[in-house]
């Protein structure tokens, strides 16, 4: 009887409010790594601050964060390490700031990638979302600045969107600390595997591309059986991405685990 009561408490969002401990930069022995990705100026750093209690400088202009910022939080007795990535419009080009974001999601293989979008500019933001979903299978969409979208009379059906994208969708207004609890809950569920994502994959119309990708996929999976983002690697190979070619040549592509990779990334940034 008393057990079931406790159980009920734990599933109630109100309980979880008290369950969030902002750890600031204190993040040893974390259980999960969460990456924050998104277009520039969608409020990633604001979401980051809301979750970690840190005061990473925020500003209303694109390109504020150029390096990675890290922080931690404790939620439901699990320690999360949160990495705030620089904002990018795409993962397909190679300026230094975009590379930092791409390499982290691709090679770092975070447990959850939270994609922060500007709700009032959803369509444009979705380009990046689709690219991220090519790379990773575990993601949460954070519909940030939802208050601004409402102010502009834009209404988003988050359930339809979640169904289409195959990942949880949470409307937030991080500036006013709204929706942060729901976001935490979904991050937790995806990290622990309680929510299984079935991410949308980009549909190409060209038959040639489809065939080429399929051929490469087969070969890649033989060399790197655990590769979670084989489609995307194939596409990048077709574009002649030198960094991916190097990673295949050295065999690094398959053996990367986030825990070994973090020190490497730190050197780079």
């Amino acid at each position: 009887m008393s057990n079931s009561l406790i159980h009920n408490c734990e599933t109630c969002p109100a309980h979880n409010v008290g369950n969030l401990t902002k750890l600031g930069i204190n993040m040893d022995n974390f259980d999960f790594v969460v990456a924050l990705a998104g277009n520039p100026n969608t409020g990633k750093s604001t979401v980051f601050n809301a979750l970690t209690g840190l005061k990473q400088h925020t500003g209303n202009w694109p390109g504020k964060t150029v390096t990675r910022a890290e922080g931690g939080f404790l939620y439901n007795n699990k320690k999360f390490k949160l990495v705030d990535l620089p904002g990018t419009y795409s993962l397909l080009s190679t300026s230094t700031d975009e590379e930092v974001a791409r390499n982290f999601v691709l090679f770092g293989q975070p447990d959850v990638t939270v994609i922060v979008v500007d709700s009032s500019r959803l369509e444009r933001n979705l380009n990046l979302v689709l690219q991220v979903l090519e790379i990773t299978n575990r993601a949460v969409l954070c519909l940030n600045l939802i208050d601004e979208a409402k102010r502009h009379s834009i209404i988003i059906d988050e359930r339809k969107l979640s169904k289409d994208l195959g990942i949880p969708v949470v409307p937030t207004s991080a500036r006013y600390d709204e929706g942060i609890n729901e976001l935490l809950k979904m991050i937790y569920e995806v990290a622990t595997g309680a929510f299984v994502c079935k991410p949308y994959k980009i549909k190409t119309e060209s038959k040639q591309v489809k065939n080429a990708v399929e051929k490469l996929n087969g070969k890649l999976l033989q060399a790197f059986p655990k590769l979670p983002n084989v489609n995307w690697v194939a596409l990048r190979l077709l574009e002649g991405d030198q960094e991916i070619i190097n990673a295949i040549r050295s065999g690094d592509l398959g053996s990367l685990e986030i825990k070994n990779f973090i020190p490497l990334l730190e050197e780079q940034t």
Partner: protein
């Protein structure tokens, strides 16, 4: 086994190369097209818009003024001038109050305690007259202007004004052969050059990034704003009738800041025509929507983030600088202190540039941090004048109750309007602080470009102050 794997992996790469030919050249474009198409289908499925036009109009109207050809630049000057004017007017009284507490009350009190427990004179001199006063000076001169300026600047940033500034400046930078985003990194430099140099990572082309790094120093940083504001208040404000003083000094600071922008354009132009040749690349800049600033949070974060950090840095550097000042002015050879030797020796040289030996020595002591230039200058001036009635002895950063008292010391030190103007110019155009130089090295990994970034501005500073001084004296 390892070899077989290697061969297999190589075969993937060669297969990819073959397939790349098959899928054709426009593969990238067609991939992007399908991404866009997919995105718009998904968005169309879940997004509904009601009466589109209504709320966009405010943003659009404001943008029409702020980013227009006619009003864009004047609006920028006015906004900047108002920010400085408020800072200058607002910081006078709190500065005087802090000085009277930290320097008039606590300093003698510390001396009394030291005397009561019979501390040796050199220890109390070094710690209380050197280190403590150095710190107290920095706090009372810098805290009030920073506590007003940074929150105002952060509010502008939060509101969404800075990207509009870059939008206005973009075409100028492109004409100078630099990247339009340099306007953004320059804006960051107005806060701190270290941040500005790091922010150049948003620029893809190494050529344009180097230009942005080298010229970032021309954006007046935190450490230099207080120098500008104080000197402008004393010399520019003092040169005009009282009722104009506030406006004239604010105008002078805006003038120096704009000169920095002009210099950064000119130097970019020069570099891109000579050692860093190339075409400017294009980019798209998304103008963010205007957002109502969150005033309380902005006040809090700008006080914690900027004011406290900059102040802390200043204090950290002021303490050893205070020690050094006390030492160079108390170690004597045949009755003349080291500081006096240097000042007497470099004075004629300084006068050539409309500066003086004191200013030159202060800039050497202050290489670690621009923040401590003014306290150092004041202290050294008093020392060379032997103004024992003002200070409590050699090497002591003395009490100054208000800006007027500071002005009296400068004037007693033989300063003229020219000295003031040239100090403002030299403060804008000289080497970056040691932290910025180190950051430039970290970002470029090149000794050559680090040296260029450090020396180019000093040389320019001497040339410009030299000509200003010569022309001034002719007139």
């Amino acid at each position: 086994m390892e070899n077989i794997n290697n061969t297999y992996r190589e075969s993937i790469i060669s297969e990819a190369t073959t397939l790349r030919w098959e899928v054709g050249e426009n593969f990238h474009d067609s991939l992007m097209e399908s991404i866009y198409k997919n995105a718009s289908e998904i968005a169309a499925h879940s997004v509904t818009k009601k009466n589109k036009q209504q709320n966009h109009t405010f943003d659009q109207k404001l943008d029409k003024i702020i980013t227009s050809r006619m009003f864009g630049f004047p609006a920028m000057f006015i906004v900047l001038a108002v920010v400085f004017w408020v800072t200058i007017i607002g910081s006078n009284a709190p500065s005087a109050m802090l000085a009277s507490v930290l320097i008039d009350k606590i300093h003698p009190w510390l001396k009394e305690i030291a005397a009561a427990i019979s501390t040796p004179l050199w220890i109390s001199g070094l710690l209380i007259d050197g280190a403590y006063l150095g710190m107290a000076w920095v706090v009372s001169v810098m805290l009030p202007p920073m506590a007003i300026f940074f929150p105002l600047f952060t509010l502008l940033e939060d509101f969404g004004y800075l990207p509009r500034v870059s939008f206005n400046m973009d075409s100028l930078f492109r004409k100078a052969g630099a990247h339009g985003k340099q306007a953004l990194t320059m804006s960051m430099g107005f806060g701190c050059n270290v941040a500005g140099v790091i922010a150049t990572r948003v620029i893809d082309s190494p050529r344009e990034r180097l230009i942005a790094i080298i010229t970032n120093n021309f954006a007046l940083c935190n450490g230099r704003w207080p120098t500008q504001i104080l000197i402008a208040t004393i010399f520019i404000g003092g040169a005009v009738p009282g009722y104009l003083a506030g406006i004239a000094s604010a105008g002078a600071v805006v003038g120096v800041a704009l000169l920095g922008v002009v210099l950064s354009l000119v130097v970019s132009w020069g570099l891109s025509r000579t050692v860093l040749k190339g075409e400017a690349s294009t980019f798209s800049l998304e103008l963010p929507p205007y957002r109502p600033p969150r005033i309380l949070r902005t006040l809090y974060t700008s006080l914690i983030d900027r004011t406290a950090i900059v102040l802390w840095r200043a204090v950290i550097f002021a303490v050893p600088a205070g020690l050094v000042i006390w030492l160079v002015s108390n170690i004597t050879i045949e009755g003349i202190s080291l500081a006096e030797y240097f000042i007497n020796w470099s004075n004629p040289f300084g006068l050539l540039f409309g500066l003086n030996g004191v200013i030159l020595l202060a800039y050497i002591i202050a290489i670690p941090a621009n923040e401590i230039v003014i306290p150092t200058i004041l202290m050294l001036t008093v020392l060379t004048l032997g103004m024992n009635s003002v200070g409590a002895g050699d090497g002591v950063m003395f009490e100054l109750e208000s800006v007027n008292a500071t002005a009296d010391i400068f004037k007693a030190g033989g300063w003229t309007l020219l000295t003031g103007i040239n100090l403002m110019l030299f403060s804008l155009i000289h080497n970056p602080c040691s932290t910025t130089i180190y950051t430039i090295y970290k970002e470029t990994r090149s000794l050559k470009w680090t040296t260029v970034s450090a020396l180019l501005p000093v040389v320019m500073g001497f040339i410009i102050t030299f000509f200003v001084a010569q022309i001034w004296r002719l007139i």
